[in-house]
Chain length 364, copies 2
């Protein structure tokens, strides 16, 4: 029997009967799905997570549940991933929920908001803080369900042609930055820019824009931006941890046997760990190489962080006033944040900061 | 057909044929395993992870791979979990590798060493830093393989009858602390004590011992130790993140169909996330309640941390000189640590420390 030989029952919810006879079909049906990613193959850690996911799902089902992965643009453009899942063009998509804040600002809590939860805190909120249930209400209204599938950790603040030394330096700054971060920046005088990734280098070279933000050392290094914008500020206060998701069409998910649903979720959790661990393992060398190549590593001034924090509160309050769903999730998320940071200040930060001091003193 | 009705083929590697006919048996054999834990049921987060694991494995296999979980002492005593797996008394065990440093000091790197990797860094080392492969060599020589299965995050330094204000206060201090941490403490004048958990309260009350360390707020709160030893020091520099493992008997693991092996590993990763997220979600309230109840939250003095750091280096050097396997793993682990901390100092700590300052200023 050729396990690949399946009868597709439609674009969505393709739980197909195999040709192998009722007993095997009953126990393990063949399913073929398509996954569209919002990321290109060049982002090897993010897109790599989709290939890892597909491999693990196949291994756990003796190759009977197969997911074929497509990079951004192969089926639909990067930012139409959610729509493609919602309308059943594909069964699932790897994307960042906060790309869809134009539909509903509440999507932001699926990825990151300015001065939000860090990586561990975000996972704790989703798993044991009521976060997943709250986000599921939103996702359901888009005919989807979604599982955490990847994390970048805290990101870098991006690349600047001139060093940001004070709040004054933000006035009139043309920065490629989107979403809530862009709204907060705007309150500080920044002029947020929309620009395709491929145009960023020459725009920085020509001075059409002054700054751009991306991910972290491993991904940023490939852009070669340091040559034209050498000041690498940190941290990305708008992404203290950015969570990716696998969006799944509701009908496709419900058509899966229960064991496949559990396997898909488990593989998403594995992919989350795989991605985060890979970033954590790859970023140090990339950072070292960037600095050796002339990148100037500079923290954002305290005054910039403080003003951004205050501006972020304003943006949240304005958004909450206009969007009751946003307010509901915001209130849960922020109450959780207050508790988490209080506890992390003790053992976790206490340990990390001591180790950081040993590193700074060259004792590691 | 009763799926529970199986033919056991032996204590270990019980890949049993079902009574349902060859087609189904071929695709999804019934397997029944026993899991012994090193933890009692009262440690609901740690022991809870075994029940979570069993549930997820059952869901992913349509209840055909069943793991029955036993608390410490029900089959074997807590610290004989590894032996029970090695000799096939049970197929698997949830335990902390560092409990077995008496067999080989290298086991410590499976859980935590003084001033070691934090939670994320440890996972990164295991997954993408060569750590798992190095540890597998050790585990294989004990007829086992092991998967990460749970994490506590950075722990608390424990409970002290008198506040530790200087290195002088450690001289002659009778502290319930074991393993490498005990060896390091000994170099600073502490007298490490062995004591059953049930005897700790009255020993502290009588002054037979002066201090004890356990886990973190959620677990520690249940001990009620604050009444007799109110100074709660932090951080546990010996456990900047403690990783638990599922040890699996090699023959039992190899007898599993490939899909079940993948499912077991995926469930371990899910259990790791579940445990860590649960601790992260539960610790804040416990800490708040402890402090409201009179617990004095006090950081270890910088001089104590510095001296402990230097003493830990000595202990590592002495152990490495006597144990080539320890040296090999140590060198990989410490090289990885130097790189990780360098990178975490930038975006991750930069973000966390700003949030900590907002928390301290009551702005969250």
């Amino acid at each position: 029997m050729d396990r690949r030989q399946i009868v597709r029952t439609g674009a969505v919810g393709a739980v197909a009967a195999t040709l192998a006879g009722p007993a095997r079909a009953q126990s393990l049906p063949e399913v073929k799905w398509r996954l569209t990613s919002s990321f290109p193959k060049s982002l090897d850690t993010l897109f790599g997570a989709t290939e890892f996911l597909a491999r693990r799902v196949a291994q756990m089902t003796d190759n009977r549940f197969q997911i074929r992965t497509f990079a951004a643009g192969e089926i639909v453009p990067p930012l139409q991933a959610l729509d493609a899942v919602q309308n059943g063009t594909v069964e699932c998509a790897q994307t960042a929920p906060y790309y869809y804040i134009g539909k509903d600002a509440t999507f932001a809590f699926g990825t990151a908001v300015p001065f939000g939860l860090n990586t561990r805190q975000h996972t704790a909120w989703l798993r044991h803080g009521g976060g997943q249930e709250l986000m599921d209400e939103l996702y359901k209204s888009y005919n989807t369900t979604a599982f955490q599938m990847g994390h970048t950790g805290a990101q870098m603040g991006g690349w600047f042609r001139k060093e940001i030394k004070s709040l004054e330096d933000l006035k009139g700054l043309k920065m490629r930055i989107a979403g809530f971060a862009g709204q907060v920046m705007q309150k500080l005088g920044v002029l947020p820019q929309q620009l395709a990734a491929g145009e960023v280098y020459s725009a920085l070279e020509k001075g059409t824009i002054d700054a751009m933000e991306f991910v972290g050392p491993h991904d940023d290094q490939k852009l070669g931006i340091a040559k034209v914008a050498p000041f690498y500020h940190y941290p990305a206060w708008w992404e203290g941890g950015a969570s990716l998701s696998l969006f799944v069409n509701l009908q496709a998910f419900e058509a899966l046997p229960e064991s496949y649903r559990a396997i898909l979720q488990a593989a998403c959790t594995e992919a989350t760990e795989w991605t985060l661990a890979k970033y954590d393992a790859l970023n140090p060398r990339a950072l070292r190489e960037l600095v050796a190549g002339g990148t100037k590593l500079v923290p954002f001034p305290a005054a910039v962080l403080e003003a951004s924090f205050a501006a972020a509160k304003e943006v949240f309050a304005e958004t909450a006033a206009a969007n009751p769903r946003f307010k509901k999730v915001h209130d849960s998320y922020m109450a959780f944040r207050a508790e988490e940071v209080l506890w992390f200040r003790v053992a976790e930060n206490g340990f990390d900061n001591f180790m950081a001091r040993q590193s700074a003193a060259n004792r590691l």
